[in-house]
Amino acid sequence: MNASNSPVRLRVWHYQFWCGACLAVVFVAQLSQGIFLTNVLVFLVGLLGIVSRLRWGVLYLMVGVGFCQSVHFFMTERPTLGWRAVSRDLDLHDFLLALGVLCFAVGYQRLQGMWHHAWPSDPRERRGKPKPTFLWMRPRPPVVDHRRRDEHLRSSEIVKIAFFAPLLVLAGVMLFTFVRPARGVDVWLDFPGNLGRFLPPGLGHFVLLFWIFLLFIWLTRHVLDLWRFWTLPPTTARLYVHDQIWNQLRGEQRRIARWQAWRNLQ
């Protein structure tokens, strides 16, 4: 990690402020839907995560938002939409809600890197005074955590996130709208038997989204893998070619070696 040369120095409290602003966006988005009590609870849980260095703060926030939206859907929206209805159109508050949660998760991930450790700890690397254990059994020095320091933060990070996060959310909203089946279309027609009749049509939309998401991740993973190959050193490239040769010709080589062994026995 290179230290930043920018005159504007980011500190931990910048990211705490960022997460607080995202929480405010989430609160406003849910308040505009008429959610209040559970919304306040979610806000307090998020705030607790920012100020108390909780490791699972993002998970608590997402569970809370999911709970709020589920309660709102089943208590308020469902009676107006009706059974087996296709999901409603996305609105501005949905966009704001997704944006707030995404930006909170990104900022919180940075905070975790500075509070706890940037990478998974190596249990073999231990240093310092041994911690007291139960019944003084095998006291060992604590595992060294490599934290990310303030001077490693680049000031352009927040600007990039502020530009890219709305674009990502917008792309997600557009994908959601684009692949949504039209109203009245039975999504599960080609399922074997009458299985499709028992499945809600809204589930088909989410299966479709999930399938496109998985396909996109798979394609991106292979493209990135190919990109990595452009920077391989010659030694590693030679090793890869040898490995491929062994992988694809080992059957023939084994057969030839077996024939040679048989000839030597004669």
Partner: protein
């Protein structure tokens, strides 16, 4: 040249795989009542794309592995050839 043929073939397979995947997505989006019909196209696209990527990786690795050898051969061939020792003229004796 042998690497370039593989690379062109790999890129063609990658494009074909992407085309199959996009065709599957567009089929599902345009006909949402039949999501299972797109599975065949997706599987074909995944296999073709995977084959193309594999071809590209192997040709790229082979090109990178042989680059130092080719550079040394080129350096040897472009070096100034050793000059023959000049004969001593008879009148210098």
């Amino acid at each position: 040249m042998r690497f370039w043929i593989r690379e062109i073939g790999g890129w063609l397979l990658v494009l074909a795989g992407l085309y199959f995947c996009l065709a599957a997505v567009s089929m599902v989006v345009s006909r949402p009542s039949f999501p299972l019909s797109a599975i065949h196209l997706t599987v074909i696209g995944i296999f073709v794309f995977r084959g193309g990527i594999h071809l590209l990786k192997v040709s790229l690795a082979a090109r990178l592995a042989t680059a130092p050898i080719r550079q040394s051969i080129a350096a040897k061939s472009s070096a100034v050839p050793p000059t023959r020792p000049q004969r001593v003229a008879a009148d210098e004796w």
